[in-house]
């Protein structure tokens, strides 16, 4: 093997027809005179054939009916951002109502707020509160430490 011999990458790219014209010409000229590189070329050709055989096509089912069935209607697709925005606004509204209008202080009939227990933590009194509603199945439990209020949602 001489210093002018081809490297594997050049041979591979030559077979893939990806060399620039000047480089391609150089490879062709060298192959005419070098048996070793011709052998390398032959080996890579054989590899490529085998790999192509491995990737040969398999019988393909008709995918059209299944895909068409899954596609959204064009109107829905066209206005999907509008629909998504409307849904987001609705969700945000519901969340707002849930978080700020149904609060432990907004107790109605049948709803109660009780102190479950109290304890001294780091010299301060901490109380555990519970709020229950008879309407939706909602229960808040939170801890109070002085003016801090931490809510847990259960």
């Amino acid at each position: 093997m001489s210093v002018n011999c081809l490297d594997e990458l050049s041979v591979s790219m030559f077979l893939d027809d990806e060399l620039a014209p000047v480089e391609r010409k150089r490879v062709e000229t060298h192959l005419e005179t070098c048996a070793l590189c011709r052998e390398l070329l032959r080996q890579q050709e054989a590899e490529n054939t085998q790999i192509k055989e491995l990737f040969k096509s398999t019988p393909t089912p008709d995918l059209v009916p299944a895909v068409m069935e899954k596609l959204p209607t064009p109107v829905l697709l066209k206005y999907r951002w509008l629909l998504a925005t409307a849904a987001s606004i609705l969700l945000a509204g519901l969340l707002f109502i849930f978080l700020f209008l149904i609060t432990p202080t907004n107790t109605g009939s049948g709803e109660k707020q009780v102190i479950l227990c109290s304890a001294q933590v780091d010299g301060q009194e901490v109380q555990r509160h519970i709020y229950e509603s008879t309407g939706p199945d909602i229960q808040f439990i939170w801890l109070e430490k002085k003016n801090e209020k931490k809510e847990e949602f259960k």
Binding site: A46, E47, I51, F55, S57, T58, M68, L71
Partner: protein
């Protein structure tokens, strides 16, 4: 079908003509199915994945840039989707286990030339191929199954074009090493 014809069909789809998409599916279904099949290994997985690829592509049609080839765009979706499935199902781990069961591991060394020419060893080669790192397998598939150019492969895999050749060569070398 030329890319310009596909672009017309895409515009029709975007204007609400859903039926135009069936022509696009018919044109690409074999390529996409085969790509998914060689990634995922079973006809059922390949069919499910191909259907999802076409559905996903339809929903993303407005993002397709008509200045580029539709096939490249669709292949990118298919490759990413298949790799996503592989990752989710951790199939790569299974492929590595399959490699451990490779009959070649107990045979004496043979030159790559001899090995590649022996048709009876096709199954083993298939097993080894499926255990290759995804990037090599993807490059080999796009080149030798889909017959794409290095430029197209670089766009699909989102890698520089000058690394595609070495990725393909590296994939072949990994195959040879695994078959030793």
């Amino acid at each position: 079908m030329k890319n310009s014809q596909i672009v017309v069909l895409v515009k029709e789809c975007l204007n609400g003509n859903k039926d135009s998409y069936s022509l696009i599916i018919r044109h690409f279904q074999q390529n996409i199915y085969n790509l998914c099949f060689h990634f995922l290994g079973t006809p059922q997985d390949a069919e499910d994945a191909a259907i999802e690829v076409f559905t996903k592509a339809y929903r993303a049609l407005k993002d397709f840039n008509p200045q580029y080839a539709f096939s490249t765009w669709l292949f990118r979706i298919a490759v990413n989707h298949s790799i996503g499935i592989l990752r989710r199902q951790k199939r790569e781990r299974e492929y590595l286990m399959a490699e451990a069961a490779n009959p070649f591991s107990m045979t004496e060394w043979k030159s790559p030339d001899t090995v590649f020419f022996n048709n009876s060893q096709q199954k083993a080669l298939e097993s080894v191929l499926s255990s290759l790192p995804v990037k090599y397998r993807t490059a080999l598939m796009l080149k030798y199954q889909q017959d794409l150019s290095y430029q197209e492969i670089s766009e699909i895999m989102e890698i520089p074009v000058n690394t595609v050749g070495s990725l393909i060569l590296r994939g072949k070398k990994e195959l040879r090493e695994a078959l030793k």
